[in-house]
């Protein structure tokens, strides 16, 4: 990987990366903080048989939801499939493999993957179907299940600001799954709302250091979509 991380747009940033069968780790929660420019590029590339690790799968017709409609995704690892009819239908029809992973376990599996920890024990899911087939262990009288770390070929990440060395700052609740997903991918591509030069970000305010980032570009955005606009009564 070259020391030059900055690319002009999603198409350039994805050159040489996209191929069938990739395992893709996606940041975002619902459609908040999702890498929409990169997702569009993946859709246009028509690569298929993808395994996608993401808390949700976008919504119908937007974000990762578009890759379901084009049937580019073979398997999802997620905690929640609601609010997405295509997801629920393809799963119930048997067209899509789905591994449910509880939300906190999913976040920790990716964090662990990026931190060189192969597995960990957690109380989450003990006594449920999530524990089926997993090793269990009693530690100080409490039962835990072993969850394995997740690593991927490619992390697709959205941040608010990023500099040319890949240092990132996220905005408000759009941070969500982006940092743990960024850490666990072999190659991490980031789209930012504002690409700034080195020195423009306060080192004390960096949320994710540039070591985790391989490629970065400034995305193009119109209006940010919202899943449920809920106003005070």
């Amino acid at each position: 990987m070259s020391s030059k991380k900055v690319y002009q747009n999603a198409h350039e940033a994805m050159q040489g990366i996209l191929r069938d069968g990739l395992t893709i780790l996606s940041g975002g929660f619902g459609i908040c903080g999702i890498a929409e420019n990169i997702t569009e590029e993946i859709k246009n590339s028509k690569i298929k048989d993808l395994t996608v690790v993401s808390n949700n799968c976008g919504i119908d017709g937007y974000g990762l939801g578009t890759l379901l409609q084009t049937r580019q995704i073979k398997k999802m690892i997620s905690s929640y499939v609601g609010e997405n009819k295509t997801f629920e239908e393809q799963y119930l029809n048997g067209d899509l493999e789905l591994e449910f992973s509880p939300q906190g376990t999913l976040a920790e599996r990716c964090r662990a993957g990026g931190a060189g920890i192969p597995a960990f024990y957690t109380k989450t899911g003990v006594g449920t179907v999530i524990a089926d087939g997993k090793e269990t262990k009693v530690i100080d009288g409490v039962e835990y299940i072993m969850e394995k770390a997740i690593k991927g070929d490619l992390s697709i990440i959205k941040a608010w600001k990023g500099d040319h060395s890949g240092n990132l700052i996220f905005r408000k609740a759009a941070r969500n799954f982006n940092p743990p997903m960024a850490k666990a991918g072999n190659i991490c591509v980031v789209e930012v709302e504002h690409l700034v030069k080195i020195g423009d970000l306060d080192p004390d305010h960096i949320h994710l250091p540039g070591i985790y980032v391989d490629r970065i570009f400034e995305g193009t955005y119109t209006e940010k979509k919202i899943e449920f606009v809920t106003l005070t009564e």
């Binding site: 499939v81 906190g104 376990t105 976040a107 989450t124 449920t128 999530i130 940010k224 606009v229």
Partner: protein, 209 residues
């Protein structure tokens, strides 16, 4: 007279003590925030990565980057902080959250909870519910006493896939407030003019005196 949904939320809000960090689930539990007694200061956590959740926004305050775990727009407060999802669940799993209020499809007399899927009918996923019930200090369930078809939801054993085993401490329904104890379910408070016989007839779980 069974409690209305508003009254159920208001009874649940009495469980929120001054200084608590709480996580409120999607749906009716979210509304409990509207009934927090005056003088009680509670910090609400949203598991996508926010501590210190404010009320829903006015139209001119809507920000696509400020949403709760139900993906609804909300507002921040002066004391709000943001963090990533792995930190968020470290708070939850690490026992730093005092109380979680969730909805339920079924609760058993041993405190088992089922609230994430109906095989063959409804698949939404567990989201953060399994982590919450495993890690939070106290779990309170807010649900109708019976399903729409009249079936009891407070059971001897859950028949639906579990969210957690022996995790529920208290259940508030339209008929009353119930404590899950080692030997069964104890009526802590009944709704006005709801007799113990009515509760027994509409409950499968063992009601103890």
């Amino acid at each position: 007279m069974p409690w209305t949904r508003e009254e159920m939320c208001s009874i649940a809000a009495m469980e929120l003590k001054d200084g608590y960090y709480c996580n409120l689930g999607i749906g009716m539990p979210t509304k409990v925030a509207n009934y927090i007694p005056e003088g009680v200061n509670v910090t609400l956590q949203s598991e996508n990565g926010m501590l210190g959740m404010g009320p829903f926004p006015k139209k001119n305050q809507v920000d696509a980057d400020i949403i709760n775990a139900g993906k609804q727009t909300i507002t921040e407060l002066p004391e709000t902080s943001y963090f990533d999802s792995s930190d968020s669940f470290a708070m939850i799993r690490g026992g730093h959250i005092d109380l979680s209020i969730l909805g339920a499809l079924q609760v058993s007399e041993e405190g088992d909870l089922a609230n994430w899927m109906i095989p063959g009918k409804m698949v939404k996923g567990m989201g953060g519910a399994m982590d919450l019930v495993a890690g939070v200090k106290k779990v309170l369930i807010l649900m109708e006493h019976n399903a729409k078809d009249g079936q009891p939801k407070l059971l001897k054993k859950c028949t639906l896939p579990l969210t957690g085993k022996s995790v529920v401490n208290t259940v508030i329904t339209d008929l009353g407030k119930f404590d899950i104890l080692p030997n069964g379910v104890k009526i802590n408070q009944a709704a006005p003019n709801v007799g113990i016989e009515e509760i027994r007839s509409r409950t499968e779980a063992t009601i103890i005196d």
